[in-house]
């Protein structure tokens, strides 16, 4: 039986299976072990379903594959319109890949209110996938907001000392920013009568919208501010360190691995897709912010005493690369940007998992509390090193591919961009390797660290898939780039058609 028959419904399945699982969890009795196993099964099932997407990815369905378009509400004109292209395809797989790992890593660390935890986790997964498949602006906004509540609750209930401050900051900061996106969406609806992304894009290209030229810059900024806070782009990044430090491990993994990518995905899909002109004109200062983010994020990461905060700032730095790649308006840059999104998701997700493993043993993230851990925990140290090297961008691992492509694109746009961004690679080696040295090498400085157990079974199951993924992505990136490239090409084509030179105009 050809699994291709699932294709017309596959997106609905992939999106809503986690939600169905969450609803079932509501009625399941409170037996913690069963709840954990059930959540794992659901998340693995979603992952397997999502693998259908790349396998049956028919190249000829352009621009969006597996499209489902059904009228939902007639007034206003909202459709259940979902579809993916090469960019969103792998982001979805990333999400479904990370979620079972989150379930695994929370196996022992969440002992209180286990049921609520996994319900929230599964609802979050549905919302995240929904963001990437939505092609109707209303649906997109709906899923976008829907990620806020489970994430805020996960941080606020299951987090560490300052969890409430971090959760409220996260929620308010991102919500206020996304309100401007809502205003832009409403304006577009009021003037085009449709929420459909493809429809609106065509109308904009045809120039058939009244008042558009005057409003375009504000619409662009409205979308942009919501995404910029999410990425996070300097200087809107300060919610991230707090949110990460206080969040439970699973929350951090999904936050860094997927939530941040919502912002960059939005920039790529909506800012570039709907407002290519404005993207061009505003590229210089956006690139400047991205470059500042790369260098600033790395430098501040270097001096963090808290391991999780360090990784948080490293996310700021890495996602600066993504934004740089997107606004370089080059094929290499865009491909690199998408690839960095995926690579960062895997490697930083793994970093947070590893940090969480350490926290489980010593209940602290302070680097000074550790030292010489390579002796008592050799397997852990080796896994950590592997992931650190992937994050640094060592060739043969996934980080290198993405950064190289982005630098290529940045250099094409303007040499100085490439030069500045390239220093980011150096800084990332600095802070990561220095952190690694302080934590693992040398003598064991605190006696208590001597008796720490090495990786347990479920922890290995959580970390090693990431390592394998990092390696495969590094040696055979064509598996991913094959689908990404045509998608970025079609995203780029309207901009290439403009005759003005890329940036500095």
């Amino acid at each position: 039986m050809n699994a291709d028959i699932l294709s017309p419904y596959i997106l609905t399945l992939v999106t809503f299976v986690p939600l169905a699982g969450a609803l079932l969890l509501v009625v399941l009795p409170r037996r913690d072990r069963d709840i954990r196993i059930f959540s794992l099964v659901i998340s693995l099932l979603t992952f397997v379903l999502s693998l259908h997407l790349p396998v049956y990815f028919h190249r000829e369905h352009i621009p969006f594959h597996y499209e489902i378009n059904r009228a939902w509400i007639s007034s206003p004109n909202i459709h259940y319109h979902v579809g993916i292209d090469g960019i969103s395809l792998w982001l979805i797989v990333l999400t479904t890949f990370l979620t079972p790992l989150c379930v695994l890593i929370s196996w022992k660390s969440v002992q209180d209110r286990v049921k609520e935890f996994f319900i929230l986790l599964l609802i979050l997964e549905t919302a995240l996938i929904g963001v990437f498949v939505a092609l109707d602006l209303f649906l997109f906004y709906f899923f976008w907001e829907a990620t806020l509540i489970p994430m805020a609750l996960l941080i606020g209930i299951f987090g560490h000392e300052r969890k409430v401050y971090a959760a409220v900051k996260f929620f308010m900061y991102t919500m206020i920013a996304s309100v401007f996106m809502l205003a832009a969406i409403l304006w577009l609806y009021a003037h085009t009568g449709s929420f459909d992304f493809v429809d609106i894009r065509n109308q904009i290209r045809a120039g058939g919208i009244p008042n558009f030229p005057g409003a375009a810059i504000w619409l662009f900024l409205g979308f942009f501010i919501a995404f910029a806070v999410k990425v996070p782009l300097f200087p809107f990044h300060t919610w991230l360190p707090d949110a990460h430090v206080e969040a439970p491990t699973a929350g951090s993994v999904l936050l860094a691995g997927v939530l941040l990518k919502m912002g960059t995905y939005g920039m790529l899909r909506f800012n570039l897709g709907l407002f290519p002109d404005q993207s061009r004109h505003n590229a210089p200062w956006i690139i400047a912010l991205a470059l500042i983010g790369i260098i600033y994020g790395a430098l501040v990461a270097m001096v963090q005493p808290n391991m999780k905060k360090l990784i948080a700032y490293s996310s700021v730095s890495h996602l600066g690369f993504v934004v740089l790649g997107i606004f370089s308006f080059t094929q290499a840059g865009l491909n690199g940007a998408v690839f960095v999104m995926l690579a960062h998701g895997v490697s930083t997700g793994a970093l947070f998992i590893l940090a969480g493993i350490l926290h489980e043993r010593r209940h602290t993230y302070e680097i000074s509390e550790f030292g010489g851990l390579a002796s008592p925990m050799p397997v852990y140290a080796a896994s950590f090193l592997f992931i650190v090297l992937a994050s640094v961008g060592l060739p043969l691992l996934n980080g290198f591919i993405g950064e190289f492509l982005v630098l290529n694109g940045a250099f094409e746009a303007r040499a100085v961009y490439g030069v500045l961004a390239a220093t980011g690679v150096i800084w990332s080696a600095c802070y990561l390797l220095w952190m690694y040295q302080r934590v693992f090498y040398g003598k064991v400085t605190h006696a208590v660290n001597n008796t720490l157990p090495d990786l347990l079974g479920f922890e290995k199951a959580a970390v090693w898939p990431c390592a394998v993924a990092a390696l495969v992505m590094g040696v055979a990136p064509i598996i991913w780039l094959a689908a990404i490239d045509p998608a970025t090409q079609s995203a780029l084509s309207p901009i290439m058609q403009m005759t003005a030179k890329v940036v500095g105009q």
């Binding site: 906004y141 709906f142 509540i149 606020g156 308010m172 919500m175 409403l186 304006w187 609806y189 009021a190």
Partner: protein, 517 residues
């Protein structure tokens, strides 16, 4: 000679049908009053409450029956159209839910129940009549009926000073504001020679607008604005909501507001004299801002919800700021939808609050709500859903309500107002979030007794919850109904010269009064 006039003045059977819900409600109210001294004090909450609830159900049935007989009644003082049926259903449904949630409340607070249910029903009579009356004096009468019931209901916790204080404040300030309304009606009469909305609007379409009309509408705004708690007439809301019994606040914050908004819709859009744009714009922006800012530091949940209702009145008022005839139906439909969605979530929220408050309404501060996520998980979850709806999270009725209002505003090019509204929405999320945070993310510092949920309250919460979700996931039906009914409110041409009961024929036959220079 008197024959035709008499024949015209004698109501026909169908006209009684057009006020059938009001008749039914009054009958049940009277029944309760009569039975009250006869029923045993211990059981009276239950019995009388059930009679009251049955009354509301009967009234809903009567409304359904009435909807098949649209048209004018009682010398064109009452008009049944889609618009009035909508608000009838809304007001009576709110009364029904409120009665359900009061069963337990009455016994916990040791309140002798009889008049309570009768007053709710009488209040509902007034509010329902407000939405179908098109005769300004009749509107005033209905307004007073509804107001007086709520004045008394506000003071129902007789042994608490705060309750008496809130009732007295409400009464004094409410009468003050209603006086403005009446004066405005008088001025309108002086200017146009009629108190019938249709006649007035017809007059204003065909004649230059006299100065008195401007002043008259301003005064009517004051009176109605007070009722809906729009800035700058919102001052009474926090104090009154804090003192009144929680279920009554749930009623007061939704039903009379909906009825007053119905009247406001008729006055603004049917009379439609120009110039109402900026006052409404300012009132909307001010309400949103003052309401949200005032709520940020509140620790008393009832007061917080009071400020929140001021803010929501602001959001609703945005729908009134559309002036052109192309945009008005959108605005009207959006306002109707907002009234319904707001009613659903607010009634539910106050029902939960009244349950948590316990005897003497001791537990109404944020500190008392700590840890409720753990001790009463189901109730806390239900309250969270209502709070999320008030914030405007998608999938809840509150989201679509704001959505319709703001997209109608954007279509009418009210960019700044929309931006103010949206930013306010986001800022306002904070204080709702605080309640959620306190319930789930803090450990309780006090021992708050947790009682099981009684049947009535459970039924009330279920209805509100279902309504909130229904309006959030399938808003289509209700919205389309609202859009179909919206044109009923707009200025229309009067077909036959109305023999309005209060119109003196001599003046009516004179040409229109000369406009003031």
């Amino acid at each position: 000679m008197t024959g035709p006039i008499l024949a015209q003045a004698t109501p026909q059977a169908v006209e009684y049908i057009r006020i059938l819900p009001e008749i039914v409600l009054s009958l049940f109210g009277i029944l309760i009053m009569l039975l009250d001294p006869l029923v045993d004090e211990q059981k009276s909450p239950r019995t009388l409450g059930l009679i009251g609830f049955a009354g509301t159900l009967a009234a809903l049935g009567a409304t359904w029956y009435m909807s098949y007989a649209p048209g004018l009644a009682f010398s064109s003082s009452v008009r049944i159209d889609g618009f009035s049926v909508f608000f009838h259903v809304l007001v009576i449904a709110i009364a029904a839910v409120m009665i359900l949630s009061s069963f337990e409340y009455m016994s916990v607070q040791h309140i002798r129940a009889g008049e309570y249910y009768a007053l709710i029903l009488f209040g509902a009579v007034g509010m329902a009549l407000m939405s179908s009356a098109i005769e300004l004096v009749l509107i005033f009468i209905a307004l007073e009926i509804s107001s007086i019931s709520t004045y008394i209901l506000a003071g129902f916790r007789r042994y608490q000073a705060s309750s008496i204080e809130s009732s007295l404040k409400y009464f004094l300030l409410g009468s003050f504001a209603t006086a403005f309304f009446l004066y405005g009606v008088a001025l309108m009469f002086g200017a146009t020679g009629s108190t019938n909305i249709d006649t007035i609007s017809h007059f204003l379409q065909n004649n230059p607008v006299p100065l008195l009309v401007y002043v008259g509408t301003a005064m009517m705004f004051v009176g109605l604005g007070f009722k809906v708690a729009a800035a700058p007439l919102h001052i009474w809301t926090p104090d009154v909501y804090e003192g009144a019994p929680a279920p009554v606040v749930g009623f007061m914050s939704t039903a009379p507001k909906a009825a007053a908004f119905a009247v406001l819709l008729r006055v603004v859009f049917a009379i439609n004299e120009p110039g109402h744009f900026w006052p409404i714009w300012v009132a909307a922006a001010l309400s949103m801002t003052l309401g949200n800012l005032g709520a940020l530091v509140q620790t008393n949940v009832k007061r917080l919800l009071a400020y929140s209702s001021i803010a929501h009145a602001g959001y609703l008022l945005v729908a009134f700021a559309m002036t052109s005839s192309r945009n008005s139906p959108n605005g009207i439909a959006a306002a109707m939808f907002y009234a319904a969605a707001y009613a659903a979530m607010n009634v539910g929220a106050f029902a939960v609050v009244s349950h948590f408050a316990n005897a003497g309404e001791q537990y109404v501060t944020l500190e008392d709500y700590e840890g409720l996520g753990r001790t009463s998980p189901l109730l806390a979850a239900v309250l969270t859903i209502f709070l999320l709806s008030l914030i405007g999270i998608p999938m809840t009725g509150g989201f679509f309500a704001k959505f319709y209002v703001f997209s109608a505003a954007l279509r009418a090019n009210l960019i700044w107002l929309t931006l103010i509204g949206l930013v306010n929405s986001a800022i306002g999320a904070y204080y709702y979030l605080r309640i959620i945070v306190v319930m789930y993310m803090r450990e309780p510092r006090k021992q708050v007794p947790v009682t099981p949920v009684p049947f009535g309250l459970g039924a009330a919460l279920t209805v509100s919850l279902v309504a909130t979700f229904y309006l959030g996931i399938f808003p289509n039906r209700v919205l389309q109904y609202a859009q179909r009914s919206a044109p009923d409110v707009l200025a229309r041409h009067v077909t036959a010269s109305p023999a309005s009961a209060v119109q003196i024929p001599a003046i009516a036959s004179e040409p229109a009064l000369k406009p003031a220079p």
